[in-house]
Symmetry: C2
DNA sequence: CACAGTACTGTGCAATCCGAAGTACCGTCA
DNA sequence: TGACGGTACTTCGGATTGCACAGTACTGTG
């Protein structure tokens, strides 16, 4: 479809969303998935989140450590490092500017 | 790169941006390109805009007509039709919701 | 032991944006 | 006349990225 479906909107923003989900607390993939869905991103697929985490990790924005779990397989925790926080700030700013540009284009008619 | 570069942010929003650019006035590709760039989307490529216009047209959201020009080749004008306006409304709403979700995630700390 | 739930990995597909190159038309300047 | 720059559009191939699907592996329960 054309349409602005959430799938397409997510492109390029998922990185930012995942960084933001890790801002206050370390987390492992499955949990981050739940955080994002709870936050309103109902449609994120699990594979997307895991992929993003790996991408951010190889990009050097995350540290990782494994924690065994009592109730299932091990959990691979991810944590923001300095580069990650810098990324989060930068990308957050880019996002805000972009969003504001779009709102202007859309006519900026008041409230959501 | 990772990073939220505007290129990636545009994905899935360009349709909406183009629809918005046509809301008040018909336009042809080259002109819409200028409108978008003037609005702040400096980095849109021409091919993207032309491609989007064609996609929106085949999707049934735009009408089109050709106007010869005194100062160059013909211009293929595009105009929103009823379906296009409906799309614009719907997608605009989706965008606003999505943007608001993202802002929540980001911590919604005040100013742009 | 089968099964459901948790947690992660790998593969291949589809969508879409972009750069580059190409076509074509116009007016100007030499 | 011919070269050139600006306008306007098309086509092609490359690159990212999100997702569905399938598969691995560990846990506790019936």
């Amino acid at each position: 479809m054309l349409c602005v479906d959430t799938t397409q909107l997510l492109k390029g923003v998922l990185d930012l969303a995942v960084l933001a989900a890790l801002r206050d607390e370390d987390g492992y993939g499955y949990d981050i998935l739940r955080r994002l869905r709870a936050a309103g991103l109902q449609d994120v697929g699990d594979a997307s989140v895991y992929g993003t985490l790996r991408r951010l990790f190889t990009g050097g924005f995350l540290n990782t450590y494994v924690v065994p779990s009592d109730e299932g397989p091990h959990r691979k925790y991810y944590a923001l490092n300095a580069a990650g926080r810098a990324e989060l700030d930068r990308n957050g700013k880019t996002w805000r500017e972009f969003a504001s540009t779009m709102n202007d284009l859309l006519g900026d008619r008041g409230i959501v």
